[in-house]
């Protein structure tokens, strides 16, 4: 059992939890993920590591309560426990002295992006950071990202804060020369930004949240086509150069269980499990 040490709702329906797992904390790197299982009947759900506290022996992760498991997780409190917490899994994000790096985070993904940003900063990179959210109330890790950035931008889908939408990134790309880019967010965001960086042939690392079961390279559920080859996101990724990723295939594979996920979520809500909607 893995105990929840702290838990906080950082934006509507987005929670940050810190879990006691000293061995995992010791070995975690930015860009890696864990797989959790809440209880005996639970599904294995991957979540990206947003930070560790070696003194406390804890691992933090931010999650969006979208389906049955994350809604259930949202209802747990500090002091409760998760049945399984497996990690670190996947390869660490590429971190070295690149020069100038563009970082874009969408929604819940701003938390793990911060973990990468801090490591890049330690390697003396210049960071241009864009933190995006649906509305001004949905911003996650805005202040933390701002603190580590050399240049910082905010974007919201509805324009309630900062730039409206992400198109302004085209202007940034036109005006400045980058050596590396890291994008974490929903697949639609990844795809959009990669379309912008492609003309500059800028290596754009994206973290792919494909469907996963084991997370250790055994099941093949997470397969994605990268550069025309089949790769396993959990073993060969989850970070890949977005310029080579077949996003349309990824999107269609992500939808495979949508009817079942909706059913599970609906039954859970009907039984009184619903959380408030943001």
């Amino acid at each position: 059992m893995y105990k929840i040490i702290t838990k906080e709702e950082v934006a509507p329906n987005i929670h940050l939890i810190e879990i006691a797992a000293p061995d995992v904390a010791l070995k975690s790197h930015p860009g890696q993920f864990v797989i959790i299982r809440l209880d005996d009947k639970g599904e294995r759900v991957p979540l990206t590591i947003a930070g560790v506290d070696l003194q406390k022996g804890t691992v933090s992760t931010a999650f969006h309560a979208v389906g049955k498991t994350t809604k259930k997780l949202a209802k747990l409190k500090a002091g409760d426990s998760l049945l399984d917490f497996s990690g670190p899994l996947g390869n660490p994000a590429e971190v070295e002295n690149f020069g100038k790096v563009l970082l874009v985070g969408g929604g819940v993904w701003c938390a793990p992006l911060h973990y990468v940003a801090v490591a890049l900063k330690k390697n003396n990179n210049k960071l241009v950071v864009v933190a995006a959210g649906r509305t001004k109330n949905d911003m996650v890790y805005e202040n933390q990202l701002k603190a580590v950035a050399d240049e910082f931008h905010v974007a919201t889908d509805d324009g309630s804060k900062g730039n409206e939408g992400l198109d302004f990134i085209n202007d940034i790309l036109k005006a400045q020369k980058f050596d590396h880019a890291v994008i974490m967010g929903p697949v639609s965001t990844l795809k959009k930004i990669v379309e912008m960086t492609k003309p500059y042939n800028l290596k754009t690392m994206v973290t792919l949240a494909s469907l996963m079961v084991d997370g250790t390279g055994m099941c093949g559920a997470c397969r994605v086509t990268v550069g025309g080859e089949t790769k396993f996101a959990c073993m060969d990724g989850p970070e890949f150069n977005g310029l080579d990723v077949d996003f349309d295939e990824l999107i269609s594979r992500q939808r495979v269980y949508l009817p079942e996920e909706r059913m599970a979520s609906m039954i859970y809500d009907k039984l009184g499990g619903s959380v408030k909607r943001g």
Partner: protein, 458 residues
């Protein structure tokens, strides 16, 4: 031995084979000639004293029979169910020359089941003054066997398993209706009670590397990480929705209990017409699971002929009985999908058998122009597995073959890296439970000898 009625069993996941009653077991045991020079034992990869355990059953001492089995085999309830006895002990049994050989496997199962229900006795440890600390990577039959053997000899044993349950393929691959998961967990429990510390959720190579284990004070490491990496065919449409690797399909069904969705959270999606590609045990299991999940038509699509099916005969027969349709000498060349990205068809080509290939089997050759379409909405690819490369990639000085298997000494399990031993599917490639256990027993002896030498300098 009685089996669950076909019409019932294709709708449930309960065990198909029902096992012997006491009377049946005694009757069968009485047929054994108690050969002074028993041939059956030569066919057993772990060398069980077969006549001795059968004699105990004949005399009604079922727990004693189980103890006899456990001297050589820590997982008798498993082996009694899934071992290919027909090509091992039973193939050599003298009675088989005249008629049916003794059903050694069924007797093994009977004794193990009896003991599990009656309560298991834990043997004393036998410390020999040279005890060490050993890390076991992977908790399949290989890892469990090494763990049991070493802990009984007084070593401190910690077993690391990346999944959330110990048992390897026994938990995630072989379906409930052939091997109830409760039985696997009872055998794991036995091994824990012997004193083995089992750490699930630990993926070695990610959380600790092999070298870090040594730095942490382990004297030796055994790698029993199996052959879990699924092969694909590399043909068009393989990444469509509804095209599963057998491992994903079986993990969802068995380990995650997808057949009980939504009571259990992990879904498994299956259509009306399912094609399973391949002809081994894995393919038969996937096909029989599909049927039980409600598929209307389930095909085994295999590129060679019936006689060449690599599955155990009993399993092919069970599959046929249950109504699985065999499309032999047939090979898929392309999958097509609908606009939502879900598989809706499979183009196949007919095959004929040509000259024997390196494996000694006649090589299947495509018949030009024989292409045809099959109407399928779910595909399971079960064309074999190779070892997961994670440990090989993260361990310096570990010699591997071009197939990704680890090179290990057949007699001791020693690898090219000092203190590192390996056995089971990670060394042999996908094989059988009992061959993994046989290799594991030798490795346990190898590790014991290594530690003794290291500690006493002799």
């Amino acid at each position: 031995m009685a089996k669950q009625d076909i019409l019932d069993r294709i709708h449930n996941f309960y065990e198909v084979a029902l096992g012997y009653t006491e009377e049946q077991a005694i009757l069968e045991a009485t047929r054994c000639l108690q050969c002074p020079n028993p041939r059956c034992v030569q066919g057993c990869p772990v060398g069980i004293d077969i006549p001795a355990f059968i004699k105990e059953i004949k005399e009604g001492n079922y727990s004693a029979a189980a103890s006899k089995l456990k001297e050589k085999n820590s997982l008798p309830a498993v082996c009694g169910r899934v071992c290919p006895q027909e090509n091992q002990c039973q193939e050599l049994c003298v009675i088989g020359k005249m008629g049916d050989p003794i059903s050694i496997g069924r007797l093994e199962r009977f004794a193990a089941d009896y003991e599990r229900k009656a309560g298991v006795t834990i043997p004393e440890k036998q410390p020999d003054g040279a005890t060490g600390k050993v890390a076991i990577v992977g908790s399949g039959p290989a890892g469990l066997t090494v763990a049991a053997d070493l802990v009984k000899q007084g070593h401190e044993v910690v077993m690391f398993e990346s999944l959330h349950y110990a048992g390897g393929v026994l938990m995630y691959g072989i379906p409930e209706f052939r091997l109830p998961k409760e039985i696997v967990q009872a055998e794991v429990e036995y091994i824990k009670n012997l004193g083995v510390d089992v750490k699930t959720n630990y993926t070695i190579g990610r959380i600790f590397t092999i070298d870090e284990l040594f730095a942490d004070g382990y004297d030796a490491v055994f790698i029993g990480s199996g052959a879990g990496l699924p092969n694909f065919m590399g043909i068009e449409g393989e990444n469509l929705g509804g095209v599963y690797a057998a491992n994903e399909f079986l993990i969802r069904v068995n380990l995650m209990k997808g057949y009980l969705f939504p009571e259990y959270d992990t879904p498994i999606r299956i259509g009306k017409n399912v094609a399973v590609i391949g002809g081994g045990n894995v393919a038969m299991d996937a096909a029989r699971c599909s049927l039980r999940l409600g598929a209307e038509k389930v095909y085994i699509v295999y590129r060679r002929a019936r006689e060449q099916l690599p599955a155990r005969e009993e399993e092919s027969e069970n599959a046929e009985e249950e109504g699985i349709i065999f499309r032999l000498l047939t090979n898929p060349i392309k999958f097509t999908g609908d606009e939502s990205g879900w598989v809706n068809g499979m183009e196949c080509i007919k095959m004929e058998l040509g000259e024997p290939d390196a494996s000694g089997r006649r090589r299947p050759v495509p018949i030009e122009g024989s292409n045809f379409m099959m109407d399928v909405d779910t595909v399971v690819i079960a064309i074999g597995q190779t070892p997961n490369p994670l440990i090989q990639r993260t361990t310096d000085g570990l010699e591997t073959t071009k197939w990704g298997t680890i090179v290990a000494d057949e007699e001791t399990g020693a690898t090219s890296k000092e203190g590192v031993y390996a056995g089971g599917d990670v060394v042999s490639g996908a094989a059988t439970v009992i061959s993994a256990m046989g290799a594991a027993r030798k490795a346990a002896q190898g590790i014991h000898g290594y530690i003794q030498k290291k500690k006493t300098g002799q």
